[in-house]
């Protein structure tokens, strides 16, 4: 087990290096730069721009810049934002809370609701509920998230006036109820796709399990149905969900980014968009690395957990 984990860790580190090189190259080779915004407002002349470019070290050859960045990174220095001069890690952590709040809420809703729908669908296979759930899940997976967000705003904020049109809190309020009020719409939008996915996965996992021999045996033995379901079926059906949770992370992060854009949620997604817009290289690189690390950890944990709980699977 230890060797397996070490091996996976080594692979992960190598991946991070590749990711950083690709990300850095794309970012810096693309046209435009962090100073364009100042050129537009024209308070700065070409000389001013050249001077600041040099002061930021952006006039050096790209490989040098990359090695410099990479070397600092190894020492734990992720650089500073070009915009507010804050350390990249503190910029990320100050936006992380909002994103986590959104992601956690949506995940909890999605897991509970999705598993419930999936299990019920599997047990009452081909019922009206199951068919509706299947069709509903497919549509949910197909709706453009941002469009769903816009429609949500139109209906619940503009027309009905029940929910705020965006933001995380009313400035100066920030009470629990206020936070909750703001959270409903974006979490709902983010949870929609997640619920559909969990429902689909749960349903098939459950179906697979209840058709296994040991369940049939249990039934044959005349055990009460609820006992069969909870003790035998459900436990085994939930196992693969661990992996789903791990592998689901990138989708969740992507979805959060979209929801944040539509609902002007002050999280990582907005930060990422703004940073790209301003070509704030250190922050963009920081977010890329951070999310890559998260994704890798997610899949690593999922694999390890799965290997632990299900000794039949051992992937090298």
């Amino acid at each position: 087990m230890a060797r397996y984990v070490l091996n996976r860790l080594a692979q992960a580190v190598m991946l991070l290096v590749i990711v950083s090189a690709i990300g850095f190259a794309i970012l810096h080779l693309a046209p435009g730069g962090p100073l364009s915004q100042f050129a537009a407002s024209a308070q700065m002349t070409q000389e001013d721009l050249d001077r600041v470019t040099k002061q930021l070290g952006l006039d050096r050859p790209l490989p040098i810049q990359y090695l410099d960045w990479f070397g600092r990174m190894l020492k734990g220095d992720w650089g500073r934002s070009y915009r507010d001069g804050e350390a990249v890690l503190s910029v990320i952590s100050s936006h992380l809370g909002a994103t986590l709040e959104l992601m956690t809420t949506a995940t909890i809703v999605a897991v509970l609701l999705g598993c419930w729908i999936g299990i019920l669908g599997a047990l009452r296979r081909y019922s009206l509920f199951d068919s509706l759930a299947t069709v509903g899940a497919m549509i949910a997976l197909s709706i453009p998230t941002f469009w769903f967000g816009l429609i949500t705003i139109y209906v619940f904020s503009v027309t009905l006036g029940w929910l705020p049109a965006g933001n995380r809190e009313t400035v100066g309020d920030g009470s629990f109820l206020d936070l909750l009020h703001h959270l409903i719409a974006p979490a709902m939008v983010l949870a929609l796709v997640e619920t559909a996915m969990w429902g689909r996965f749960m349903r098939s996992s459950m179906l697979e399990v209840i058709n296994q021999d040991y369940i049939r045996t249990a039934r044959a033995k005349g055990l009460p149905e609820w006992r069969i379901l909870t003790v035998h079926a459900l436990r085994n059906a939930l196992l693969p969900m661990i992996t789903v949770a791990g592998l689901q992370f990138p989708t969740l992060l992507g979805g959060a980014l979209v929801a944040e854009t539509v609902f002007t949620w002050p999280g990582m997604g907005r930060l990422f968009l703004d940073s790209i817009g301003y070509r704030d290289y250190p922050v963009v690189m920081g977010i890329l690395m951070f999310s890559a690390i998260m994704v890798l950890i997610g899949s690593l944990i999922a694999d390890i957990l799965y290997a632990v709980v299900d000794p039949r699977i051992r992937v090298g």
């Binding site: 435009g32 497919m138 197909s142 179906l207 992996t243 980014l257 694999d303 290997a307 992937v315």
Partner: protein
């Protein structure tokens, strides 16, 4: 990586006829809708009396069903239906072409990695893993914001974020097949590696490729709409469903149909492709797994 068989489809004999019918009926419905959308986009514009780029500034924001314009007019007084059809051409072609590119790249990378294994395989598959490390929307946004927007770049960008899944499927398939008798036999007969790869091995993975392709079209249409929504996609005056939505944003309160119409079109198209893919998966290989 450990992947778990999580096929949504089941194929044990106990399946009732009603259910099977229902499943296939949805796939069928999907196929029919796709054909309607394709035909509508291809032929529709010839049947309409309006040009999709003709601006009539005096007739801005005419609501649907209020006169000659069935779906109303947009912020520049252009016919929304005409734009929807022309936008369909763009969005659907992007979806299909991006899928084509992604499939081609994915199949080639997967086949080479699976066939040669060793260092080549490891390097290629690590590259796949690396690209998969970025949530696809992150990658797409980064790329889109960094390149000049347009039809070609949008298509290529979407393809660039979509080829990895297929590569994995094909790699696994080819790796497991290449040791089987027919590959060994072909090698013994002196066939070239390329020939064996693409004539003997890849065709065996055709089922997952077809399914993946269908789902990829769905995904590509969604991604196009998202890039365009953020203003990095198709350039005006050409219409796409995504940029129609983007332009509609600021008029959401005063002219909601401008946002509803393309949104429904996107949802309809994507749902149809997804159902089609689901149906194909059931039909072609019920045990198959694509995550």
């Amino acid at each position: 990586m450990a992947t778990v068989a999580l096929s949504t489809a089941q194929s044990e004999p106990g399946q009732t006829a009603w259910r099977r019918f229902c499943r296939h009926r949805l796939a069928l419905a999907g196929a029919v809708i796709i054909i309607i959308l394709l035909l509508g986009s291809a032929l529709g514009p010839y049947l309409l009396p309006f040009d999709d780029t003709y601006i009539d500034i005096m007739k801005r924001f005419a609501p649907p069903l209020s006169g000659a314009h069935i779906l109303g007019t947009d912020e520049l007084g252009r016919d929304v239906l005409a734009r929807l059809m022309m936008g369909g051409r763009v969005s659907l072609s992007i979806g299909i072409v991006a899928m084509g590119i992604a499939m081609a790249v994915g199949v080639v990378v997967g086949a080479f990695a699976g066939f040669y294994g060793g260092v080549v395989g490891a390097v290629l598959m690590r590259l796949v893993d690396a690209v998969l490390c970025f949530p696809s929307i992150f990658l797409l946004l980064a790329l889109a914001a960094l390149t000049e927007p347009g039809l070609v770049t949008t298509t290529v960008l979407i393809a660039a974020t979509a080829w990895m899944g297929v590569a994995r499927v094909v790699e696994a398939q080819v790796r497991s097949l290449r040791e089987r008798e027919f590959a060994v036999a072909a090698l013994a007969f002196g066939s070239s590696n390329l020939r064996i790869m693409f004539r003997e091995l890849v065709p065996n993975a055709i089922a997952p490729i077809v399914v993946s392709a269908t789902l990829n079209v769905a995904n590509a249409i969604l991604l196009e709409s998202y890039i365009s929504y953020l203003g990095n996609g198709i350039q005006p005056p050409a219409a796409s469903w995504g940029n129609m939505l983007n332009n509609a944003q600021i008029y959401l309160t005063s002219a909601p149909w401008l946002a509803i119409v393309p949104g429904v079109a996107i949802t309809l198209a994507v749902t149809s492709f997804n159902f089609l893919g689901d149906g194909l998966r059931d039909a072609l290989d019920p045990r198959m797994n694509i995550s």
